[in-house]
């Protein structure tokens, strides 16, 4: 039946499997130039049940339509707090696609891939300069794996010193990955309440000889610089511990403060945040880890080094914690990050930090008269409001969904956990005053709507591909794959 349903601007699109037609193909293969032998039939399978059969046009149209239901940084403002959704420069994409970078096999002899190793070596050096750490690994696949790598190195260092320590202190503002990574590295987690900024006294109260490390995020997830950090690092060091810093918020610090200079022993980077590599709909990220000199022997295998003969992969490191994945890291992501650093230069990176902080503070100034700001200290690259003060039982979730109707990606919601109904906004430096003004106007209008017409919030979104989805139902009766009727 012809109808207008599924037509118009938001096109409907069935699953690949539902469109499949027996005999349709979307590939081409050269004719065999060797005798076609087949393995013993006892070892081989019959056809892959349910697998799609589609033409190239079907596939192209399918994914093109799917893409139109998405919202990316290129679609509009994406102030997802803690995720640093800055613009992803297009030249980085071109750089990562140079055939000399994409078409190189990881098992090629090192002497034949000197350009790739040189790039990695230079990137290590630049990240070291930005963070103040003398040694670096580029291997971790993402921030969470970087945390795990760092905590393993801390564990290995204590072990090498004949110490058996069981605990890691983590403030309550931390990302969930921090305690999860610590547990994976064999530690018990001690949570410490921070009240916005972590105090030396709070750390002293839980610090003892059984603590292997303190794990902080600086600036923390409220956007606040941990002002006592030097004293806290001294305290932890005096009691034989190390300090890990989660570099998720490094975008607030480039050219301003270097973790390696102020007592931090280990830090991971999120190249997909600070260094503009695309978030890719969920990944791949990249989580290099910088360490102080004494942790260098424990870096994962292999380490990129340089000597008179050129660049090398060094496997001869008896104290290494081992490898975290196959090969050397997310090389394609490393190329993009290096391309970004070269485009920005030292001054440009500092300017990026300054403008990211300016943008966040401007949003704070515009919204503070209407939205509740629980922590009044001077914040840096992001600002966290609470839902207190919203009228008519409207909640953070409703504000977020209503923002979609206004054409924005919502901020991070309900994190950090220490803020009631948190609305965590991180604009980054790549947004203009005009964009931010329009976004603030929308949030102010939504606060008015909550007063006068709360249904507009509770029914939102009404202008997206789908209306509000039943998330509880998805979890209650999980349907995690398509199956033929």
């Amino acid at each position: 039946m012809m109808s207008t349903e599924g037509r118009g601007l938001v096109l409907e699109e069935n699953l690949l499997f539902e469109q499949s037609q027996p005999g349709r193909v979307g590939y081409s293969l050269a004719a065999p130039d060797v005798p076609m032998t087949v393995p013993d039939a006892a070892l081989t399978r019959t056809e892959i049940q349910g697998f799609p059969e589609l033409s190239e046009v079907d596939v192209v149209r399918h994914y093109t339509r799917l893409s139109t239901w998405n919202y990316g940084v290129d679609s509009g403002f994406y102030p997802l707090g803690s995720c640093t959704m800055k613009y992803n420069p297009k030249v980085n994409e071109a750089a990562a696609r140079l055939p000399g970078f994409t078409d190189i096999h990881p098992q090629t002899p090192e002497a034949l891939n000197q350009g790739a190793l040189e790039l990695m070596y230079n990137l290590q050096r630049d990240l070291g300069e930005i963070s103040g750490f003398p040694a670096m690994t580029l291997q971790p696949a993402a921030g969470a794996q970087g945390e795990f790598t760092g905590m393993l190195m801390i564990h290995a260092w204590h072990e090498a010193n004949g110490q058996k320590r069981r605990k890691v202190i983590i403030p309550d503002t931390a990302h969930g990955t921090n305690p999860a990574s610590s547990a994976l590295a064999g530690y018990e987690v001690v949570t410490v309440a921070s009240n916005g900024i972590l105090t030396k006294e709070a750390v002293a109260a839980v610090m003892d000889d059984d603590v292997a490390a303190l794990m902080v995020t600086n600036p923390n997830t409220l956007g606040l610089f941990e002002a006592d950090i030097r004293g806290i690092c001294d305290l932890v060091h005096e009691r034989g511990g190390l300090v890990y810093s989660d570099g998720a918020n490094l975008n607030a610090l480039m050219g301003i403060s270097r973790p390696g200079d102020i007592g931090i022993d280990v830090m991971h980077f999120n190249l997909h945040k600070t260094f503009s590599t695309p978030h890719g709909g969920g990944g791949p990220g990249s989580g290099p880890v910088g360490v102080v000199e004494k942790l260098k022997p424990f870096l994962p295998l292999p380490v990129v080094t340089k000597d008179a003969d050129g660049y090398k992969l060094d496997y001869d490191r008896p104290q290494s914690i081992g490898r975290l994945k196959s090969f050397y890291g997310h090389f394609g992501v490393l190329v993009r990050a290096y391309s970004y650093i070269l485009s920005m230069g030292g001054e440009g990176l500092k300017r990026a930090t300054e403008l990211a902080v300016l943008n966040a503070n401007y949003i704070r100034a515009r919204l503070e008269p209407v939205y509740t700001l629980p922590n009044k200290q001077r914040s840096l690259h992001e600002v966290v409001f609470s839902e207190d003060g919203l009228q008519n039982e409207c909640h953070t979730l409703d504000v977020a969904k209503r923002l979609i109707d206004y054409g924005y990606h919502p901020p991070t919601i309900y994190f950090p956990l220490v803020v009631h109904g948190a609305l965590m906004i991180e604009p980054t430096e790549t947004e203009s005053k005009q964009t931010i003004d329009e976004f603030c106007d929308a949030l102010l209008a939504i606060a008015e709507e909550a007063k006068d017409n709360p249904e507009l919030l509770k029914q939102a979104p009404v202008r997206a591909k789908v209306k509000r989805l039943h998330e509880a139902m998805a979890a209650r009766k999980p349907k995690l794959r398509w199956e033929s009727e």
Binding site: S20, L29, A30, P32, D33, T37, T44, R45, I48, G50, F51, Y63, L66, S67, T68, N70, Y71, V73, P99, I104, H105, P106, T108, P109, N113, G115, E129, A141, A144, Q145, H175, G176, T177, A180, S182, G186, V189, I256, S257, S276, G280, G281, G282, P284, S326, F327, G329, G332, V333, G345, R351, R366, K401, E429, T430, V466, H470, A474, L480, W482
Partner: protein, 449 residues
Amino acid sequence: MRYLPHTDVDVQQMLEQIGVSSIEELFSGVPENCRLKKPLAISDAKSESELLLFLKGLAEKNSKTSDWDSFLGGGAYNHFIPTVIDQLVSRSEFYTAYTPYQPEISQGTLQAIFEYQTMICQLTGMDVANASMYDGASACAEAALLAIRAGKKRHKVLLSQGLPPQYRETVATYCRYLDVDLIDVPLQDGVTSQQELSALLDEQAAAVIVGYPNYFGQIEDLAAIAELTHTAGARLVTAVSEPLSLALFKAPGALGADVVVGEGQSFGIPLSYGGPGIGFFAVRKKDMRVLPGRLVGETVDQDGKRGFVLTLATREQHIRREKATSNICSNQGMCVLMVSIYLALYGKQGLRKLAELNYAKATYAKNQISQLKGFAIPFAGTSFNEFVVTCPEPVARLKKRLEQQGILAGISVGRDYSDLKNGLLICVTEQNSREQIDRLVLALAGGEA
């Protein structure tokens, strides 16, 4: 700077609204003793044209697979990538989005992951697949942890020596400070020794992990291994580093595997010096709630219309923190898309034909080399698109000799397997023409191509 839109007037107006007189004042929360007192020693900004010239210079110092007769595999495979893939994944609605936390404006990503999960299940013969892990090796490590979690008091993981060395090393790193005993299961004739396996299996064993095909390209007898494993009450984890094999050989799920993990790079992801790739991870229904990583599920919206969301998140770190099933906080989004588009294009027929072609080419090469004087095929069993040969001269010297003829002959296995000192792992895919294979054979024999 072209990525920074602020004019001087903008900055002035913004500072006024904030109520400060300079940007510097905004950093008043950073104490003096934490300040960097000098400019960053990073080279000056390059223009776009300078940047591209510079990076091209670096790229040209590398050896592209396409410029060589390359027979390198060992966990990263040189397969043809259809043009469509890069065209589609370059749509920035996909690649500039993040994790689909807001499902109403992320249906593109979510439906694509749901379809990916489905295709991984179909290929592996399993019930549930997650939205992907970092790579095959880390997925394999997470599978060991799943088995320990689900195996209650059991704390042993038995690793076949046929598992790729990088996988074994990664498992060891992940388990370094956990209460897990890793035990090597020796090989016999290039596959996991069933005799040794049954001797090592006991009521402490949580998992047996084997490669399929294994590092030597050999097809393991999964059904027999599954039976031994299940009799001891452990889980069989199958690690697949070359998933194209799954289009030809029996699905691990059909042979009794409890967990199937692997590397998806073969499916449309560039070699890119070994990363990013993608780790796939599939389980039986019974392990759905102890699975690591993200999951996408189907649901409906307020109007009853089908839609997709992230689901079963109570397993994950942002909710469960130190008690989560994993610390992972991402999936390989872009690579999920590449794999999905690749599988959709090749489809039911194409993937099988491609796998058959890989098998036939590798078999041709294997037969030719087996006839060379001094060379031998040490293992009798079936292999897919990789195989080991033992060489009459030191492998390092042989590889160097062939390099001078434009051939990357393969990977030396002697470093990881002392009993295969002169072993060379050769991979042949659809990218290798018969002429290339013939040149390899001639060169191995000592001739000039």
